[in-house]
């Protein structure tokens, strides 16, 4: 018997509703939910690879009801989200221990649910609803413990304002599409759009890109990101960088590829925008003194690379982009978690009463001796982000460059420019690595001994290395995922009736 994929959304939602009733035990709920999702999505992968599952909700035939489209792409993202969510929630078990703890865990689980819903749904308005769940929990988690957290509040306010403008754009675009075609089901919409020869279809597309672009953090819509990612608590920074912005990219790609069939002009714009995002992100990261802000800008850069890869609009390009999403998720999560633990330890030693979530790079000096495992994790993550072999970042960079070169011509030139960013990234990350290992700092009395925090490091580092050496394990699902994005006819064809 095949399990229904709707459980991927329903069960975490149920758990999220239960969480506020659990009091102190609430913190065990997110790992449970994420673990459930992880197992379920892994179980579903073989079935989905054979043929995508259409799950109608409410028992009516699509397009008359909301349906889930559980294709390889969706299940891949669901698995990634739940894996990341699981590891981060284990980390958070002992990391988040003060003040509004229960609310944190509920919102965290809601964020995961929203992300899962976005990637699984086959209905554009439903996508918007889940996207809003994701956004609202993000706003709140950015400002976690707002009462003690000046910068968190500021970042959250700014994030919320920009996010709301983006959401309004999305809703406008949905309205227009409904006005044009009278349906909300994505397959149905795609069918209509493929037939239509309207000269105004670019307007909803523009609103979609500008709207989802805020969450996807493409330049110049990403001004919230460095603020929000740098001031939120480490697990939240990790889930933002590793999952949330990737969901934005997913949404853009789903709209552009599946709904609108990837028109050339849009793809070139995305390509340029991706390149700009990459360069601006890396250049800004280069001059940061705050370690988390630096990593946040680095996330912008990586997202730029992802968008660039998708912008190539070839199968190899999309596969490369998806690979880069995986690699960025794993590496950036590890990076933020290790930074978080360092900040936590320093804070516990120096000012245990203040609520601190960010720190200067110089304060990390010399931690390599006191926190060897954490520092090793940081180094692995940084190396992977730069793209050193044998870590996973190397494989993804290889795929992206290969895809760009396969397309040849101007794309190869742009790729060459994009590679400059790697050099910049190397410069600033390795400076930090040097500081941690080879500089002297005041690190007396700091130690690492929390198993719950160290276990996720270990798993993530193992995954980064393992997938770096054997990238073949991912290629099958990524290939069929990119096939799903490109095969618009196939997507439409799944619509019964």
């Amino acid at each position: 018997m095949v399990v229904s994929p709707v459980l991927l959304i329903a069960v975490p939602l149920l758990l999220a509703f239960i969480a506020p009733l659990c009091g102190k035990a609430a913190k065990y709920i997110p790992p449970a939910g994420a673990l459930f999702n992880l197992i379920l999505s892994v179980i579903l992968i073989p079935t989905v690879l054979k043929s995508p599952m259409i799950v109608s909700i409410g028992g009516f035939p699509p397009p008359f009801c909301i349906n889930l489209f559980v294709g390889p792409l969706g299940i891949f993202f669901a698995a990634l989200i739940s894996l990341a969510g699981f590891l981060i929630s284990i980390y958070a078990l002992s990391y988040i221990r003060e003040r509004a703890v229960g609310k944190y865990h509920t919102l965290y689980l809601l964020l995961l649910t929203g992300a899962t819903g976005v990637v699984l749904t086959g209905d554009i308005f439903n996508l918007f609803v889940f996207y809003e769940i994701l956004c609202i929990s993000s706003y709140a988690l950015t400002a976690h413990n707002a009462h003690w957290h000046r910068h968190g509040t500021e970042a959250a306010v700014k994030y919320l304002i920009q996010g709301s403008v983006g959401s309004a754009f999305i809703l406008l675009a949905i309205g227009m599409l409904y006005g044009f075609f009278g349906t909300l089901n994505m397959a149905d919409l795609a069918k209509h759009i493929a037939r239509a020869h309207s000269s105004v279809l670019f307007i909803p597309l523009t609103f979609f890109i500008a709207g989802f672009g805020v969450e996807a953090a493409i330049f110049p819509l990403n001004a919230w990101l460095p603020d929000a990612h740098s001031v939120s608590p480490a697990p939240i920074s990790a889930i933002f960088s590793g999952i949330a912005i990737e969901i934005g990219v997913y949404a853009i790609m789903r709209v552009v590829f599946t709904l609108f069939g990837a028109p050339l002009s849009v793809m070139s714009v995305l390509l340029i925008v991706g390149l700009l995002t990459l360069l601006v992100g890396e250049i800004c990261a280069f001059r940061q003194n705050n370690i988390k802000r630096m990593s946040a800008y680095s996330s912008i850069g990586q997202i730029g690379l992802i968008v660039f890869a998708f912008g190539l609009a070839t199968k190899s390009g999309i596969t490369a982009g998806l690979f880069q999403i995986t690699s960025h998720a794993l590496s950036k999560i590890l990076l933020f978690l290790t930074i978080g633990y360092m900040i936590y330890s320093i804070r516990m030693k120096n000012y245990p009463d203040k609520y601190v979530t960010e720190i200067e790079i110089n304060s990390l000096n010399g931690l390599g001796k006191k926190m060897p495992l954490t520092s090793l994790g940081f180094a692995i993550a940084a190396f992977s982000l730069i793209g050193f072999p044998p870590f996973i970042g190397f494989s993804s960079k290889l795929l992206i460059v290969k895809a760009a070169l396969l397309k040849g011509g101007i794309y190869a030139v742009l790729m060459g420019i994009a590679l400059i960013a790697t050099v910049i990234e190397g410069a600033y990350f390795l400076k930090v690595v040097q500081g941690i290992y080879f500089r002297k700092g005041e690190v007396e009395g700091i130690k690492e001994n929390n198993v719950f925090i160290l276990v996720p490091f270990f798993i993530l580092a193992a995954l980064i290395i393992f997938a770096g050496i054997y990238p073949g394990i991912l290629t099958k699902i990524l290939n069929s995922s990119s096939g799903e994005l490109l095969n618009r006819i196939g997507y439409i064809g799944r619509l019964p009736g």
């Binding site: 999220a16 509703f17 409410g58 509004a100 609310k103 709140a140 105004v200």
Partner: protein, 227 residues
Amino acid sequence: MRKLVSIILLGALAFGLVQAVKKIPFGVQKTKVGKYYVERGIEDTGSSNIVTSVVLNYRGFDTLGEVTILFAGAIALGAVLFTGKKRIEREVYPASPILSTACKFLFPLILLFGAYIFIHGHLTPGGGFQGGAIAASALLLIFLGCPGRKTDGRKTRLMESLGGIIFVLAGLLGLAYGGFFLFNFLPKGTVNNLFSAGIIPVLYIVIGFKVASEIAGILDNLFGETE
């Protein structure tokens, strides 16, 4: 300067919007999905308010998401305003007897009205959200008119959670009975009866309570004095 730039940019945006809207004729039947709902709604769901049947049955998943958003919003607001301190019991100036008496008099009436709205969601305009909001405005009246009164946070939270849990459980029961999440597994009954339309009234009542308690929680949090 900034104003000028924003006006120029908004002009460009307006141009785009107008371009798009030219293709959307106003006031013309254009949707096959909507038409289907109107034609088959009663038959499929047993609810005479088609909007309700769309909200809770055809697009019930959206509504689950919506409920979740409100839930998330309430939790988020609680988290943002959380100070970790006991609320200060400030000396309140009692409102004039006329005001408080009127409030107390109106309170059950508005509450009743709200309840009526969400119970009859499948028959008349309105439903869980509207009814819940109206019930919450009754609470708002009490907050304003009778200072010093407040809701019991634990109970509203319990209600919120229970509402959500029941909604999801109903969906899961549908999955178990009919093979579809949120499947309308209860008998549809006769149209235009109170006890008709399967799980729709059940869900709307649940939503009504949930929305009311959530908004009450939000208001309570906002009104609460914290230094």
